[in-house]
Amino acid sequence: MRLSIVRSIYLKELRETLRDRRTIGFMLVLPLVLYPMMIIGMTRFQESIEEEIRMRTARLALWGEAPPGLLDELRARKFEVLPGKALTDDLRSRLAKAEFPPFERIPEADSPKTQKRADEMREAASDHPLVVTARPAILDRSIDLVLVVYPQKARDGVIHTAILYDTVRQDSRRARGRLDTALEGFSRKLLAMRETERGLTEGFTTGIETRARDVAPKARRSGFGLGTALPFILLAISASAGFYRAVDTTAGEKERNTMQTLLCAPVRPIEIVAGKFAAISTITLIAAGANIVSLGLTFGNVSRQIGGMSLSPSQYALVFAVLVPVTLLTSALFLAVGVFAKDFRDGQNLLTPVMLVTMMPAAITMIPGVESNLYIMMAPCVNVAMLIKALLVGEAKPDQIFITLVSSAAYAVLALTFAARVFERESLLTGGKDTFRGLFGFGEKRREVTPSLAFACFCAVLVLIFYGSVLPRMDLRFFLLFVEYGLILLPTVAIVLALRLPPAETLSLRWPGWRPMFAGLFIGASGWAVAHALLRLLPPPESLARALQKVMLLDRIDIPFAYVLFLGAISPGLCEELFFRGLIQSGFRKLPMWTAILASGLLFGVAHGSIYRMLPVTLLGMLFAYLAWRSRSVFPGMLAHAVNNGVGISIVAFAPLRDYVVSQKMQFIPLSWSAAGAVVLVIGLMLARGRRRDQNTSFNPN
């Protein structure tokens, strides 16, 4: 072997590689950025969660009579003691009558026999009335754990207690540890006191006897084990399957020049995108399905042999269902980015970082103690990973499912819109380059908003609103102003300017005359009463009602009522109407009237981010859309929106009315109010309908 030849070949290969900027990026820059980002980010994230749990006051439900001094001990150790919380009257009396003997000590599992016995005791506790009662309260986070204090028997002086906690919940597990420590401390004090004050009798040396029981049923514990790693594995493996198809169908087709053959066939770019997107999505979903089936069979088999892991087919089916939107997102993203590559190798270099960046955050489920919150429900891929985990442990809430699915769908639409845009760029498809401005169409003179552009704008602003609305610890007044003007109005104006759309025509800035304005007044004053009746179909939880009230009252900050109205009524009327009935609805002008109104209302409903408010808010959105459609102006809708919100705020803020509602324990407004509202609403709609000659839908600013 001639070393000089080897050296020449080696140097040529290195030179060529080092001149490839993408390879350099993948080889050096990505690892340099990725690992610090991941490790430092994840560590900080975990530290902040640990700190939060450590600093947090644990909510402890105390069932039974606490011996003197115990409450002080618990409070000193940062427990918020809630006597009798979640305990039914029946159980309280049975507990007082000592109908429930203390739990037995679970033996050390040092042999198969004792292991079996321990498992049986744990399973038996699962159906115990106290455990069954504690379970939902811990699951819905109203408490972290329960301390049961059994009635004291005079003969031995032992205080028997039980701790009911949830191993799946990190904060419940932590609270249990802290409670153990607190009880030990209390026990030591108790012993010392007894020893000094009285003579010792049998049993006094024991102080407190505590038995702990896990309220999490077997399925939930199995789900927790699976939910830690499974979501990430599922997402990553499924995405990998789509990855190679995406590279082949974009960069591969360019490399083989089959893309240009396709482009000279009588097909539209959107048809090419749709076909390729459907193929990549199908392959990804098949991979996901195969993974889930294989996992299900494996765990089913293991479960039969050694027990401990059992998930129902419906849980697996749900997991598959929530993978659909994230599959659509990654497929569209891969498709769009793949087109930028010159050849197959280039495609792999480009798509690998995209896959890493989208998939790695899904490893969040492996971090102990991370609980789903609004931030997480909005984060692409992460939200689906957390939802899969929640489904596996059986604690997925309707709002979590709704927000995760809606935000994932919004990301998927954005990615797909991007892919469609990329496939319209012939320079990219034929192997050339494109500019950022050209790619996004900035600077192109447009005459109108298309439905797809409207939808993409909606998704972009929705993502902004969602992320903006979870900004932490912001003054509520500033927060409302920030959302309305910073996240809704500003992007609306920016989109109109960036795409060089005619502002007056696009945003329907046209004086409609007095009749539509009166229609807006009537609809605004009555629409809420009718919309509110729809809440009966899917009653919101108490927590949502409290959160809404907090926003409406501006967290009881002492500010003038006029300012409250400005923040809660006038600003939403102005900003949201310019966005929804101005920019977005202008994209629906060529659709049939009711399709456009329904689409406008639905998008308005979705943007409010709660499945419980979806129906009423959609109805209100449709009413405002109808006003805008009939009047060809955004102003009647603005007035209606502001009046609608103003009425809501006035009801909550007007003390006698609020007190009346509270005193009557009204969950919903009476149907008679809704009926009265319906009458006024019909008058408003008739006014909005206008005369026949006014019903031309074409826009004329004059």
Binding site: R256, N257, Q260, T261, A265, E426, S427
Partner: protein
């Protein structure tokens, strides 16, 4: 040549950033005629052909294919064009027959017609031995025959062929060239770009020469040779590009 022009371009211009790749080119191709597009490397031939087949949009100028405006009625215009380039490969994991059916679907050829047409072309282009083998196993010549069949499949009135015999041996090249002549005899309007002067002389009724994005010559071979004062097409070409 009194047949109607089927492919017409007028004032075509195309810029790639500051580079003026094509600068005001106009010509037409009539039914039953083969027009050769000649030019040195980088002259803009491929860009012109891509604009004519609807792959690229001209920055200025217009294209009509079978009377349809390529920009305003692109689907109808494309339906009348068969495009082939020498460097186009096939879908590796499909068979030539599957490729033909796929493009038949894209060109909305009825299903029964697709079967008949595939059998007809497979026989005509002598593809029986490999029509049902995966394209990844075919030789260059076999692949190009399959590609030709793909371009002819929807029976377009216009054929645009970008160096169709590149990288083929002399036997395969001649087979392709003869197939093109046969299409001309069936009344197709054919535009072909080539580097091979002998092929142009054998194949083309008229020649359009371009250089640096401009048209430098157009006419029948004999007219161009006479006008340039050269003795053959190669010399006439070299003179036209100033060599």
């Amino acid at each position: 040549m009194n047949a109607a022009p089927l492919l017409v371009c007028e004032g075509l211009k195309k810029y790639f950033g500051p580079v003026r790749a094509v600068d005001g080119i106009s010509f037409e191709v009539r039914a039953g005629e083969i027009v050769g597009l000649l030019g040195p490397n980088g002259a803009g031939k491929t860009t012109v052909l891509r604009m004519l087949s609807g792959i690229l949009t001209p920055d200025e100028g217009r294209v009509w294919a079978a009377g349809f405006d390529m920009q305003a009625e692109s689907l109808e215009a494309k339906r009348n064009i068969g495009f082939l380039s020498g460097d186009t490969q096939l879908y590796q994991r499909l068979t030539p027959r599957e490729v033909l059916h796929y493009f038949g679907e894209l060109f909305e050829v009825p299903a029964s017609e697709r079967r008949r047409r595939a059998n007809e072309l497979i026989a005509e282009l002598e593809m029986r031995d490999f029509a049902d083998r995966r394209c990844e196993t075919l030789s260059s010549g076999q692949k190009q025959r399959a590609n030709i069949a793909r371009a002819f499949f929807h029976d377009p009135r216009i054929l645009i062929l970008d160096e169709p015999t590149t990288s083929l041996d002399i036997i395969s090249g001649r087979f392709i060239v003869d197939s093109i002549r046969e299409q001309r005899d069936r009344g197709k309007a054919i535009l072909v770009s080539t580097h091979i002067m002998g092929e142009a002389e054998y194949l083309c009724d008229r020649i359009v020469m371009i250089h640096l994005g401009h048209k430098t010559e157009e006419g029948a071979q004999s007219e161009i040779i006479t006008r340039s004062g050269a003795s053959n097409l190669t010399d006439a070409f070299l003179r036209a590009i100033g060599e």
